[in-house]
């Protein structure tokens, strides 16, 4: 082994961007992923990626306006210097992706086209059809493949991260991972480890997330001592297509391109939607939010849809669904701008959204919370210091968290088309800091017993599972967890419901100790891998509920009917959870302000009687 080595866990946008940047700085990277990196969950992102651009700039937009929108959208819960740095890097990131060959949609003159997205009155979203995440991921995947072919990246695909290896001084010295085909468990040493492992959608059972988004990797860092912050902030996307196996995202770009949300004015109206005249349709978002209309931020749209269906019983045909209507737009226009997502609807619902309004309902989509991370601000507090060796480092020195896996940038709600940006930004900007960290801490002395005992503990855990006489079914426990969490910790929360759910989660934790496997073999055992993740998901569920109970206010996606207002004193603060060997506790950490003064987040809602 020559020179410092970095491990990157996760091959989505954040992990691939980090890998590229770290290799460019001259280091070797070992890249671990549950799936071939080209199949990572980033492919599911549809709508686009935000950045100030020349057109918007000449209409009065700026990077600082993008920063303001992001902070306002996030209800001022995000630390401000990282957000401002990200928005100032955004135009450069778009240029870079353009150079990598991303087929961004073009204007007649051949320049990058732009679309409108939630939380902004300016067009600042760049897009590649309606599969922008896929196209960005492929561009980065191609760059990493190039580095791989030049011998600077070693890929470990179909490998699962089991735990960080933490030495007696509390430093991360490597990881334990398992080959999911041969089931070999072994340790890997590194001078820095980056967790780019995405979100925990599966904690809610069904969500818009891919099947590997259990959050288990982040949970394993949490239970190894890395604090987890703002867990209660879960984004529920307003427009998803319900399904038996998952909730399929219907991109915000459908509204950005003119889609209108409505229900019939009379409850239970069973007519074909095309036969319902305009004056008998209730465009409730446009009516309540005249300025932003259908493009209010996601938490607001989700709550309004939820309220219309659940509280007022006005859902289409009495069910929990509303119309998302694109039928007033020309077919050619829709196919060019939104083809990929219209095709998803056609394939799964069997109806053509160009002819019939889509039927949608909110679905769990994104976690604003994640592993707590630190950074170094510039002396004036306005930006992050480039190259600082603690850029997005977790509470375990040497262990970093990038992308959805950390708690930065998005505060209490993420704006649409800011996730792709934050993932790539973390990789490129903070990747440089990781490379510096690895150089500063390169240490060839490895403690063999430390590594061997970490491997032994994971092997023992596996043996307990494969040898367990327990009768509990891991899939049944996961389903019960998903149902509890969806009912208690999504669109509308109350103290009593969260406390009940917490009790249920704790009893599920007890049941999880008695999981028995239907497959006890040691060759490509997906049953084992899933069962091992169940207690990890339950640990995150507990943190999400504890944070939600302690946060006695409403802010962004965290909406409590018993505390309906935002309360800045004392809750303009992140919740920081610590594991404490199985007795998790919550502390509050003040938000780093200094750029935008917090103000009421109303989006110009009309007051109703």
């Amino acid at each position: 082994m020559s020179g410092p080595r970095v491990i990157v866990v996760g091959g989505g946008l954040a992990g691939l961007a980090a890998t590229t940047r770290i290799v460019e700085s001259g280091l070797q990277v070992d890249l671990f992923s549950l799936v071939p990196v080209k199949r990572s969950h980033s492919v599911c992102a549809q709508g686009g990626i935000n950045a100030c651009n020349n057109v918007a700039r000449q209409q009065g937009y700026s990077e600082d306006q993008h920063c303001d929108e992001t902070l306002y959208g996030g209800d001022f819960l995000a630390h401000q210097a990282p957000v401002r740095t990200m928005t100032h890097w955004a135009p450069k990131i778009i240029d870079l992706l353009d150079r990598m060959g991303v087929p961004f949609n073009r204007t007649a003159e051949g320049r990058r086209d732009l679309r409108l997205f939630g939380g902004s009155l300016f067009k600042r979203t760049h897009f590649s059809g309606a599969s922008t995440g896929q196209q960005l991921l492929y561009a980065l995947d191609e760059q990493v493949r190039r580095h791989e072919s030049e011998g600077n990246v070693s890929k470990y695909e179909y490998w699962e991260f089991l735990r960080p290896i933490v030495d007696a001084n509390g430093r991360c010295r490597g990881i334990v991972a398992q080959d999911l085909r041969t089931m070999t468990i072994r340790s890997f040493a590194a001078d820095a480890v980056v967790m780019a492992t995405g979100g925990p959608g599966l904690v809610f059972g069904k969500s818009t997330n891919s099947v590997m988004c259990t959050g288990a990797a982040a949970a394993r860092c949490f239970t190894s001592g890395a604090p987890y912050a703002n867990g209660e902030f879960i984004q529920v996307h307003p427009t998803a297509i319900p399904g038996a196996d998952k909730l399929r995202l219907m991109s915000e770009s459908a509204r950005g391109e003119g889609g209108r949300v409505w229900v019939p004015r009379s409850a239970g109206d069973a007519r074909d939607p095309r036969d319902i005249p305009q004056e008998e349709r209730w465009y409730f978002l446009e009516e309540k939010y005249p300025a932003y209309g259908n493009l209010v931020p996601r938490d607001i749209a989700s709550r309004e849809i939820f309220s219309v269906c659940v509280d007022e019983g006005m859902g289409v045909r009495g069910e929990n669904q509303v119309y998302l209507d694109l039928t007033h737009k020309p077919r050619d226009y829709l196919e060019t701008k939104l083809g990929a997502i219209l095709e998803i609807y056609r394939k799964f619902v069997g109806e053509d959204p160009c002819e019939l309004p889509m039927r949608i309902f909110p679905g769990v989509h994104y976690s604003m919370g994640g592993l707590w991370t630190e950074y170094t601000a510039t002396s004036d507090g306005q930006l992050m210091e480039y190259g600082a060796s603690n850029s997005m480092m977790t509470g375990i020195p040497g262990l970093f968290a990038f992308g959805e896996a950390n708690y930065q940038y998005h505060g209490a709600t993420r704006l649409g088309a800011n996730a792709l940006l934050s993932c790539i930004f973390d990789g490129l900007f903070c990747g440089h800091g990781v490379a510096n960290h690895a150089r500063e801490h390169a240490d060839s002395a490895t403690d063999d017993t430390l590594f061997a005992s970490a491997v032994q503990e994971e092997t023992d855990l596996q043996s307990r599972l494969t040898g367990s006489p327990g009768k509990e079914n891991p899939y049944a426990i996961a389903k019960a967890m998903g149902d509890e969490m969806t009912a208690a910790a999504t669109v509308v929360k109350t103290e009593s419901k969260m406390i009940e759910a917490l009790e249920s989660i704790r009893s599920l934790q007890e049941r999880a100790a008695n999981i028995g496997l239907s497959d006890t073999g040691l060759w490509t055992n997906q049953n084992l891998s899933f069962a091992r993740a169940v207690p990890d998901m339950l640990a995150l569920a507990e943190v999400m509920l504890l944070g939600g109970i302690e946060r006695k206010e409403s802010r962004g996606s965290h909406y409590r009917t018993d505390y309906p207002d935002r309360v800045d004193d004392p809750f303009l603060a992140s919740t920081v959870a610590k594991w404490n060997g199985g007795q998790p506790s919550i502390e509050f950490e003040p938000v780093q302000l200094g750029i935008v003064e917090p103000r009421a987040r109303t989006y110009g809602k009309k007051q109703t009687a």
Binding site: R39, S40, K92, G101, N105, S128, E142, Q143
Partner: protein, 269 residues
């Protein structure tokens, strides 16, 4: 977010007949499972139900069926398998299409052009290896701030976008009579690239900066296992779930290869 509809209309019992294989060396065997399904369900949901209660129709305890899946919305390419004899993604395979009536049966097999890892999961590493053979990337100078990329017309962008939606799922390779199973990685460089990688070679030749590697790509395309192995069966284009005009890509690169060959002949390189 949706309350489960446990006994929705359209609830029925169907059967899955699955070709299983415990390991690469093991012999394949058939197993049959009974699943209760509802309208709108896809095959992945059926396999998930089997996983939660893996008992065969004979009443024997079995194991969850191993298969690849990811996004469940046909954009990651993971869940490709052979369903009733045809290759496709299982996430978009709806039970209403395959088993509309009580007692209907669906037959699932792994792809035959890649080595089986276990059950329906195959090793598609060769597919990614082939992307290295054709240098399917734009050779940028680095990730530094060097300004915008080249201008592109909307029509050309649309053409590139369509080619770029290829998710490396392998359907075209399963359908191609010229693309054969090759277990040994040492043999991959001389075996047929297949429509998937040929389309990617064209995609990057179509990019103004990607073009810099055009000669390298054309050497691979003209070489052993290159475009000359295509038998023009045209199965690939029919199997592609993203409707990428693969035969058109092959024809275009074939013409470019001829030109490249002539250039090479006259320049003596």
């Amino acid at each position: 977010m949706i309350a489960p509809n446990d006994r929705a209309p359209g609830t029925r019992t169907i059967f899955l007949r699955i070709l299983r294989q415990d390991s690469p060396e093991a012999l394949p065997r058939w197993e049959r499972f009974q699943v209760e399904v509802e309208t709108g369900m896809n095959l992945i949901s059926c396999l998930q139900r089997v996983a939660a209660n893996p008992v065969t129709v004979e009443g024997d305890d079995s194991t969850p069926v191993v298969f690849d899946c990811g996004c469940l919305e046909e954009v990651c390419g993971s869940c490709t398998m052979v369903i009733n004899g045809k290759v496709r993604q299982s996430c978009t395979a709806l039970v209403d299409e395959y088993a509309p009536r009580e007692g209907d049966e669906i037959v699932l097999e792994p792809m035959s052009k890649f080595p089986v890892v276990r059950d329906l999961m195959v090793d598609r590493e060769r597919l990614f290896h082939n992307l290295k053979r054709v240098k399917a990337w734009v050779p940028i100078d680095g990730t530094y701030d060097l300004g915008a990329g080249p201008i592109d017309t909307p029509d050309h962008q649309q053409m590139r976008y369509t080619m770029a939606t290829c998710m490396s799922c392998g359907c075209c390779l399963e359908a191609c009579p010229q693309f054969n199973k090759e277990e040994a990685p040492a043999e991959w460089d001389d075996a047929f690239l297949g429509p998937h990688a040929i389309n990617q070679a064209l995609l990057f030749n179509e990019h103004p900066t990607g073009q810099i590697l055009q000669d390298d790509r054309m050497e691979e395309i003209l070489g052993v296992g290159g475009v000359n192995d295509c038998g023009n069966a045209q199965n690939c284009v029919k199997a592609c779930p993203k409707e990428i005009p693969l035969t058109e890509s092959i024809a275009r690169i074939g013409r470019a290869a001829t030109f490249h060959g002539l250039k090479r002949f006259f320049s003596g390189k």
